[in-house]
């Protein structure tokens, strides 16, 4: 039998190439090593909200060939608490009721991916929404029947700033507008909630009431103390709250030179949880290497390889929250809003507070608005903690109203300010160009109610 040498070579080349390609794609698909590049499997550009974890495919695609249910489970794995907290206006339970089966045929609102399709950058709008702007029409086309004031409004304007949101209407519902109708722009008492972390720890253990100094450090004698570091620690809240070197540097009897983020988490669990859900810490939240400044999609100052962990903003040993609340932010963010902060009235309030011209909790930093102090209840205890997920007040920005603005400003003033992109850019230097018509509509309905004139079809 005569062997065709040329053919044999081609067969050999084909087999080798096939094996190499199979190895490459198979390894990318099946490897559990976080350093393996899986980008060949990305089916399109990922949204700004998810791109940091896009290479951890199983964050969302928990199983091969997973159906909608498993995908939904993955969405809720990260977003369930957030939806519960905002008292979601369109919960799944509304749509699983058989009487709404006709709505599901138009819009299957049981699943997040109906409106938020990933990897479809060409049709992704703000908040990762992939539905057309006027999607409210699908279910609310007869809104004008019960609200004649809405008859002439376009459905693409429903979710304009200050009107409605699909999920969170806590600052926008009619009775809330009525209740805050006559709020002044500047409230008589303007103050942020006072943090009370130390009290919480003292309740756990009396040792946290102590103030420590350099004489008290419990570093092992064989490790020479760096004077500068000891000095930084001595001025820190840790030293003033009885937190000695060993609290962070000793684990299972061993001295740890570089404590990991889990050490921070062991005392600051709720703060860590919100950090892991944020754009700063979400990679750590899914056990990927920390985000680097250069990974950001927005234009940042010094986009270097610096990684983002707790200590990036809360510089270790000093843990100066003031620096973390302004300097750390402005060290990276250089958009117009950020650059205008030091000329803003909010910053002036911060300076007045800092130099004792005003009460302590009246000063405003970047974090005051973007990482607000919120009430946290656990086992009957009320604490004021800093929410480290800045997206919670920006997705969309009316979510900032109740968490932040209403501490100092009236509802109408706040909603109108947040609706004006120009005002946001200059860090609220001036007045809003917009009037929120919702207040007039709510007022009119109140008046008609008082006169007993509201009927089924009345406004």
């Amino acid at each position: 039998m005569k062997i065709n040498t040329k053919k044999t070579v081609w067969w050999f080349v084909w087999i080798v190439l096939s094996l190499m390609l199979s190895g490459y794609y198979g390894n990318a698909l099946l490897s559990t090593d976080i350093s393996t590049d899986k980008s060949v499997y990305l089916s399109g550009k990922t949204t700004d909200g998810h791109y940091q974890i896009e290479l951890k495919c199983d964050s969302c695609h928990t199983e091969a060939f997973a159906g909608k249910e498993l995908l939904q489970k993955a969405c809720l794995n990260c977003h369930k608490d957030e939806l519960k907290k905002v008292e979601d206006s369109h919960p799944k339970s509304k749509f699983t009721d058989p009487r709404n089966a006709d709505i599901l045929e138009i819009l299957d609102a049981r699943y997040c991916v109906t409106c938020h399709i990933e990897h479809r950058s060409e049709k992704t709008r703000l908040m990762g929404v992939t539905m057309p702007e006027d999607y409210c029409f699908l279910c609310h086309q007869d809104v004008g029947k019960n609200r004649p004031s809405h008859k002439e409004l376009g459905f693409e304007t429903c979710d304009d700033a200050g009107c409605h949101n699909y999920h969170d209407n806590k600052a926008l519902y009619e009775d809330f507008l009525v209740k805050h109708m006559d709020d002044k722009s500047m409230l008589e008492i303007m103050a942020l909630p006072q943090r009370n972390l130390k009290e919480h720890f003292v309740r756990q253990d009396e040792k946290y009431s102590q103030t420590l100094s350099a004489d008290n450090i419990d570093m092992p004698p064989e490790i020479s103390a760096n004077k500068a570091i000891v000095h930084e620690w001595e001025k820190s809240t840790h030293a003033k709250s009885g937190v000695n070197c060993s609290a962070c540097h000793v684990s299972k009897g061993e001295w740890i030179f570089k404590p990991t983020i889990s050490v921070c988490k062991s005392c600051h669990e709720p703060e860590s949880k919100s950090f892991f859900a944020s754009k700063h810490g979400m990679r750590l939240g899914v056990e990927l290497p920390a985000m680097k400044v250069s990974d950001a999609r927005i234009d940042l100052k010094n986009p270097d390889k610096k990684i983002l962990t707790c200590n990036t903003c809360h510089t270790d040993h000093s843990y100066n929250t003031e620096k973390a609340a302004i300097d750390a932010c402005l060290g990276c963010h250089q958009d117009e809003h950020s650059k205008a902060f030091r000329k803003s009235k909010h910053f002036a309030a911060y300076q007045a507070a800092k130099y004792n011209k005003a009460e302590n909790n009246t000063g405003l930093t970047c974090a005051s608005c973007h990482m607000p102090r919120l009430e946290h209840r656990e086992l009957g205890e009320k604490r004021i903690l800093v929410d480290h997920n800045q997206s919670n007040t920006l997705r969309p920005n009316e979510k900032m109203v109740r968490a932040v603005c209403l501490n100092c400003h009236g509802l109408k003033f706040s909603l109108e300010a947040l609706a004006d992109s120009k005002l946001i850019k200059n860090n609220f230097n001036g007045s809003s160009r917009f009037e929120n018509e919702g207040f007039a509509m709510a007022k009119k309905r109140e008046e008609l109610k008082r006169l007993g004139l509201i009927k089924d079809d009345d406004d």
Binding site: S93, T96, D97, P98, R99, D175, K179, R445, E446
Partner: protein
């Protein structure tokens, strides 16, 4: 012989299966013997729902709001640090059930709803709500198909049991009816069981 025996056995088995299938087809799901009927199940669920609802309305809301005047009940109960309204309490329970896998659902609807989403929508709801209003003391049972699934649907009268029911509904700015009296059928509890 063996073959004949096997064939006979196969024929008998086939006939039995066919017989059982035909028998199941001729019986209404609500009448299948040997198990609880959808109507009995629905009536039992309703008994629990209406008992809880009455206790909450009379012994919690009406007593604390109307009689003892120590707290308010409010639609915005979280913001107002008040008691949830009885209808809200009912709806929250219904939503929790809907989040699980209970294989039944329930809702509170009315011919005169404050929230327009709670007006009768399906034919069964429209007929049922009208029936319980026209026939005080009676329930309404029907089978309906929604989204490709068949349901046993029951509509039970929801009656004004305490003064707070009447005053709250009559005074609400969105109420289409403001002359309710105690004892009136204000709406209906609709329970659905897939069959």
């Amino acid at each position: 012989m063996n073959n004949m025996h096997r064939n006979g056995l196969q024929t008998t088995l086939a006939a039995s299966v066919l017989g059982l299938t035909l028998s199941a087809c001729t019986e209404k799901p609500s009448e299948i013997a040997g198990g609880i009927t959808p109507q009995k199940m629905s009536d039992a669920i309703h008994a629990v729902l209406v008992a809880d609802r009455t206790v909450y309305t009379k012994e919690v809301v009406n007593r604390l709001v109307k009689d003892e005047k120590v707290i308010k009940a409010s639609e915005e109960w979280k913001d107002d640090k008040a008691l949830p309204l009885p209808a809200q309490m009912f709806r929250y329970g219904s939503e929790l059930v809907a989040e699980g896998d209970a294989n039944f659902s329930y809702s509170l609807l009315s011919l005169w709803p404050i929230n327009k989403q709670n007006k009768a929508k399906t034919e069964a709801e429209k007929t049922g709500l009208q029936y319980i209003f026209d026939n005080p003391g009676e329930n309404f049972y029907v089978e309906e198909e929604l989204g490709g699934t068949n349901y046993f649907t029951a509509v039970y009268p929801d009656i004004a049991v305490a003064p707070v029911c009447v005053t709250c509904h009559n005074d609400h700015k969105d109420t289409p009816k403001s002359d309710f009296k105690i004892g009136d059928v204000m709406g209906g509890v609709v329970i659905r069981i897939p069959i």
